[in-house]
């Protein structure tokens, strides 16, 4: 039955392009605008700000929720009179010290871990133990050991950065392919030269991911630690600025402080790390 079905060839006439009204037409301006994701996101922010403003005015209790305009006024004022920039700077200084120290220690620990088996065990045990422990929980101990001041902050920051970076770096080193390793050894690379010229670049996507996690941990830990005591050498950071403003019932300033923290966090994650990513792992086609 099936073989009996003979199908004829089918040919059909196609219409010329002049027969059609629209073949390709540019989108209308509103359609183009709506296709931009950043514009849509800004629209969301505008709506949220408006809702905040309306709620603040309706509530009429600046001690609980000051309107958006009040918070912005406080932000602009404290940025222009230099309070917020100097507080942010002192936070960032401590952060950079802690972040750099933590990263360097993580590097040492990882090199130790890949060169000896006991080193691997050590790193694995330590990360398993300390990774679930929020760094901020060590602050009371740090205060006893290092006193009120930058020392304690750096200690908790190092702790928050080190394990995340070490764990990711070790995972990155381990995932470097056998072929690349053999290529490195073929050129007589060993020891630290092998680590520097082969392992670190080959594991860079993982290392970068570790640095991003480490940064996020450190930033959150720092603000939390500053909220608890904050003053280091007479000049507090952003966390302390928030805490101080709350004590003085300057609630718009509290919101201004929160906004600053969000802005700095966004800037580092979307500008600094983004920049490094496009220059390295993206250019190399290694983005995982």
């Amino acid at each position: 039955m099936l073989e009996a079905m003979q199908r004829a060839n089918i040919y059909s006439e196609t219409l010329g392009p002049e027969q059609f009204g629209i073949i390709q037409k540019p989108l209308t301006l509103p359609e183009k605008i709506y296709n931009q994701s950043w514009l849509r996101k800004i629209a969301i922010l505008v709506v949220l700000a408006a809702a905040w403003e309306i709620y603040g005015r309706w509530l009429d209790n600046p001690l609980l929720v000051p309107p958006f305009s009040e918070a912005m006024r406080a932000l602009v004022e404290d940025v222009s009179n230099g309070t917020i920039p100097s507080r942010a700077l002192s936070s960032i200084q401590v952060l950079l010290i802690g972040f750099t120290t933590g990263t360097l220690l993580a590097g040492l620990l990882t090199v130790f871990a890949i060169s000896t088996r006991i080193g691997t065990d050590f790193l694995e045990t330590m990360t398993a133990m300390f990774n679930p422990l929020p760094a901020i929980a060590l602050l009371p101990l740090a205060l006893i050991w290092f006193g009120l001041g930058a020392g304690s902050l750096v200690f908790v920051l190092v702790h928050s950065v080190m394990w995340a970076v070490a764990l990711n770096t070790l995972a990155g080193f381990r995932s470097v392919s056998m072929t690349v390793r053999m290529v490195g050894r073929n050129y007589n690379l060993n020891g630290l030269r092998f680590v520097g010229k082969i392992l670190i670049p080959a594991a860079f996507p993982s290392i970068l991911a570790g640095l991003k996690i480490g940064w996020a941990f450190a930033w959150r830990t720092l603000i939390a630690a500053e909220l608890i005591f904050g003053v280091s050498s007479g000049q507090g950071g952003l966390g302390w600025y928030i805490f101080e403003s709350k004590n003085q019932l300057n609630i718009p300033e509290v919101f201004a402080g929160l906004l600053t923290i969000i802005l700095i966090g966004l800037a580092v994650e979307n500008v600094v790390f983004r920049f490094v990513e496009t220059r390295t792992v993206q250019r190399w086609g290694m983005q995982s």
């Binding site: 072929t179 007589n188 690379l189 670049p201 080959a202």
Partner: protein
């Protein structure tokens, strides 16, 4: 696995093969080599064993052969004959449990830039370096040449594999065939005593593979390097090789060491006959093994 008796009875072969290689090979190339009686690479009675999680595996059993200056020496065998393992031992990545491997009379103990490997995998190029940087990298890190000279030599070899246009591209933008060409350029730029190629064209599509084989032979015509080439493809072995070592599987033992057809006659009747002969040898081995398995 195979009994001790079988192993012992076959162990006579490698020695015989080795002697044959010296006697036939040295006559033709005596002029080029300073000491024609000393082979460039001397593999003698090499047994390689390695441990997996559960087993101690014997990859090769008393394999021996000599590679002379300018040889295109192909190690051919089915999968599981330990040919890649053997190449890694020549590369210095593995130590033989028995026997010895000598390059220019020196015992091979560890990897070194006098034997550059070209792998099958495309990820052998360093993705964070451009083509030029990849080719210049070994020249610089081994201290063979200084930055400027390394760049120049790298550029020469990139030109030789017809990739000048891509010198500043990153590897991930290249096709598989181009990546392998960069790897070959990188290996040859080091001008090693011997090139070690581990099925470098196996992961390429059929058309590209044929072109790469032609290009490799054209490069050999130009530079006359010495290469130890591992493959499981009989036509590739006949085309690439000047001499072919045939390994039997589980564990790898020398089945034969034969001359290939002359250069450029890979489509002749002789080549076809040689292909059939090799095929029969490999095929006979399978029948032999079947009752044991």
């Amino acid at each position: 696995m195979a009994s001790g008796a079988t192993l012992a009875s076959k162990s006579a072969l490698p020695g015989a093969g080795g002697i044959k290689a010296v006697s036939t090979g040295s006559s033709g190339r005596a002029a080029a080599d300073a000491d024609p009686n000393q082979p460039l690479l001397d593999v003698r009675g090499v047994t390689i064993q390695y441990k997996t999680q559960r087993h101690l595996v014997t990859a090769t059993y008393r394999v021996g052969f000599n590679v002379l200056q300018g040889d295109r020496f192909v190690v051919l065998g089915p999968s599981g004959c330990g040919k890649s393992t053997l190449l890694k031992a020549v590369g210095g990545y593995l130590q033989p449990t028995e026997g010895e491997i000598r390059l220019k009379g020196e015992l091979i103990k560890k990897p070194g830039p006098d034997r550059i490997m070209v792998f099958q995998e495309f990820d052998q190029l360093l993705p964070w370096k451009t083509v030029l940087e990849n080719v210049a990298f070994p020249l610089k890190t081994t201290g063979t040449l200084h930055a400027k000279a390394a760049q120049e030599r790298a550029m020469d070899y990139i030109k030789m594999v017809n990739l000048s246009k891509f010198a500043h591209s990153y590897p991930h933008t290249l096709s598989g065939g181009m990546k392998q060409r960069v790897a070959i350029a990188r290996a040859m730029a080091m001008e090693p005593d011997i090139l070690l190629m581990d099925e470098p064209f196996a992961a390429l599509d059929a058309l590209t593979r044929v072109r790469m084989q032609d290009e490799l032979l054209a490069l050999w015509d130009e530079i006359r390097f010495t290469v130890l080439f591992v493959t499981h493809s009989i036509p590739e072995a006949i085309k690439i090789g000047s001499r072919i070592l045939l390994l039997s599987p589980h564990p790898g033992q020398v089945k034969a060491e034969i001359n290939s057809v002359p250069r450029g006659q890979e489509n002749s009747n002789e080549a076809a006959a040689l292909g059939r002969e090799i095929h029969e040898m490999l095929f006979a081995d399978q029948i032999e093994e079947a009752p044991n398995a």
